[in-house]
Symmetry: C2
Subunit: 408 residues, 2 copies
């Protein structure tokens, strides 16, 4: 029997419609050439909502609309998402278009406008193809089966190679709590910037301010710890909806199983974050950097992000080159408190550096390890108790090909 004590279980076949109360749909309207480009998540009751947005000063129109919706009463019943056009840098018309999308979705669902969130991803600076999006909204076929979730998962992708979805269960207050997530990563219709979108559904009972608290905490340790190429989109959004249908007592930090809930949210977000990193443009492998011995956790994450974001580390990973000089140089420029004489570093199980000095190790074994599609680099700064992780991907010819091809 699953209990909070026994932990959190992964549901291989679960999806964003597995938590009680959620339906989804996805369809092709012709904004993109082939794949689905319009999607919706719907909750049959008003769900507590929380969201985090890009830190880019330039923010796309849908973010403004979604913020307004959530500000109204902290509840959402639906999110309407399109891919193929980011509705960013589109001025007054873009803003009107985002409001029109919200209005049309609310109309189809017969719910108040402020219970609808709007999200877009794709090319920047082009007018939204409203003639494709609006008339098709009524054809979105909301269902609670796997097929509908898959159709939604596809509808949010741009040039992502894979759909990204995860689902977990645990027990809180003797009831089963389910949580799921869908995401898209760095990709594009035409070579333009990628956008990270993530949508999380759960049937846990939790007020929106508490959900926001938990989401902020885990986002800093998951989505904010991935880097593909250091560029931040104008459209990034992480949105969580909690239907409350599981019937547990409202979750707050005072609830005995608050930590279990946060842990489940953390695992969900980490799953999606790693899927996004692995599917970075042109990537052939996922790189995880684990840092220990930093002055504090924040500095550990800072070091991990600098290492995983280094173009030289990323190309060395692609070339399966255990080039620790690049790792140590990235650590040194990270801005964290680093003692130049006390750094240990390993690739997978093979330690390369001890106290900043090279050890005798088998280059062949280290290179063999780096051929794998998941690479772990571990660093110990031996300067404190801070720990942290970050995720990224290798830098390949395909990254250049994808981003240097002329838009057409």
């Amino acid at each position: 029997m699953l209990t909070a004590k026994s932990g959190i279980k992964t549901l291989e076949k679960g999806s964003i419609v597995t938590p009680e109360g959620f339906l989804a749909a996805g369809m092709h309207t012709g904004v993109k050439r082939k794949r689905n480009d319009l999607g919706m998540i719907y909750c049959d009751v008003p769900a507590s909502a929380a969201a985090l947005y890009t830190q880019n000063v330039i923010q796309a129109a849908p973010l403004k609309v979604t913020k307004q919706s959530i500000a109204e009463e902290g509840k959402l019943q639906a999110v309407i998402v399109n891919s193929g056009n980011a509705n960013a840098c589109t001025g007054k018309q873009g803003e009107e278009d985002a409001y029109t999308m919200r209005h049309a979705a609310a109309d189809v669902l017969s719910i108040p406008e402020h219970r609808v969130a709007v999200s877009s991803t794709g090319v920047i600076g082009l007018a939204m193809p409203m003639d494709r999006i609006i008339p098709n909204m009524k054809h979105l076929d909301l269902q609670m089966d796997q097929e509908a979730a898959t159709a939604f998962n596809e509808s949010i992708l741009t040039t992502d190679a894979t759909k990204k979805s995860t689902c977990r269960q645990t027990v809180i207050d003797d009831v089963v709590i389910t949580m799921a997530g869908s995401a898209k990563g760095s990709g594009m219709i035409e070579p333009n910037m990628g956008t990270m979108l993530a949508f999380i559904t759960t049937d846990a009972a939790i007020e929106s301010d508490m959900l926001q608290l938990a989401l902020k905490e885990v986002t800093d340790q998951t989505f904010n710890c991935i880097t593909i190429d250091g560029d931040t989109s104008t459209n990034d959004m992480v949105l969580a909806m909690a239907s409350g249908k599981a019937g547990n007592e409202n979750l707050t930090p005072e609830h005995k199983d608050w930590d279990v809930f946060v842990e489940m949210l953390q695992q969900t977000c980490e799953d999606l974050a790693k899927m996004i990193a692995r599917d970075g443009e042109g990537a052939t492998k996922l790189i995880e950097v684990q840092v220990a011995g930093a002055a504090d956790d924040q500095q550990a994450v800072q070091v991990a992000k600098t290492v995983v974001g280094s173009s030289l580390v990323k190309t060395a990973a692609y070339g399966a080159d255990p080039n620790w000089g690049r790792i140590i140089a990235a650590i040194g420029r990270s801005g964290a408190d680093v003692n130049a004489e006390t750094i240990d570093a390993s690739v997978g199980p093979i330690q390369l550096l001890e106290n900043s000095q090279p050890l005798a190790y088998s280059e062949t074994a280290a290179s063999d390890y780096l051929q794998q599609d998941t690479i772990k680099l571990t660093v110990d700064l031996n300067a404190g108790d801070g720990v942290g992780k970050a995720w990224g991907c290798d830098l390949t010819y395909d990254y250049v090909r994808i981003n240097a091809s002329y838009r057409s």
Copy 2:
């Protein structure tokens, strides 16, 4: 006749030995396979010296030794440089080796050890091949002709495609002042991090603290405004030596032509910085980003560096794609005070954006412009009087090839 008023003249055939008092040499000792790998600049009088070093916490042994030399009395007579081995992360032995290089150079020249600077560039973490460097030092053939300067310029390169040198003259206090510089950029013997080295010679009379003041000021606007891949080497060094042989009055900020001197130093450093950027690993073109209308100059530089360092802007430049969405997104994440509604942007003479809205422009003309080997991107934030520039290069297949090839 050349006067301070008439400005600063470029000497196409000048080199680091053109300023009075300087000699140079370069030779092949076998640290590198083919090209020169050991070089020296010598001044026949003690020269006022100033230097700036990498901001990486991990610093190579020669930097420590050079700092000690200059700290002694602010004077240098020689700098000994090797390429092929960075003498970084080489522990106690590396430190001893750097001191041994200094000692050997002082011995050959019959000058005090503290008048010798040491500089190294190349692979990290390998023991210095002292058996090649030390016995050959006495074979360095110091001369004051162009050939010797060229031999030196080659001796500091790693995988740079081109030698980098510049020379200028002006008149201060009715005497001709000459200034020259040599540099190397981002490259490597084996795929390891690149190092930026720059050596500047002048026959101007100026005390070392004033030279340091001027060097710091212009470095912040030149060398610190280039980015190849965002990685900072353990070995970066900019070193200036002033022989005083021109016979002008000592230059200080109170001297009527101080600004002319600083301008000449600025032009010298900017020349070298642009040469380094253009010769970035795998680069096919130089990108210059000019920012106006920032809250202050520092923020302008911050925006310029963020744009020129963006992998998406760099790949767009390679693909000759006037993809302004990437420019505006980089501006938005730069951390500078930016008004999302007031940004103008142009590629070369073609304006793409006004008040953050796309203008009607010819994509073909913009793409044609981006095919050139020098690209200017100009941005006006319309939010203040701050101006700044930064330089970088495109991101190409060759960058990945160079850095992903396994060391062998």
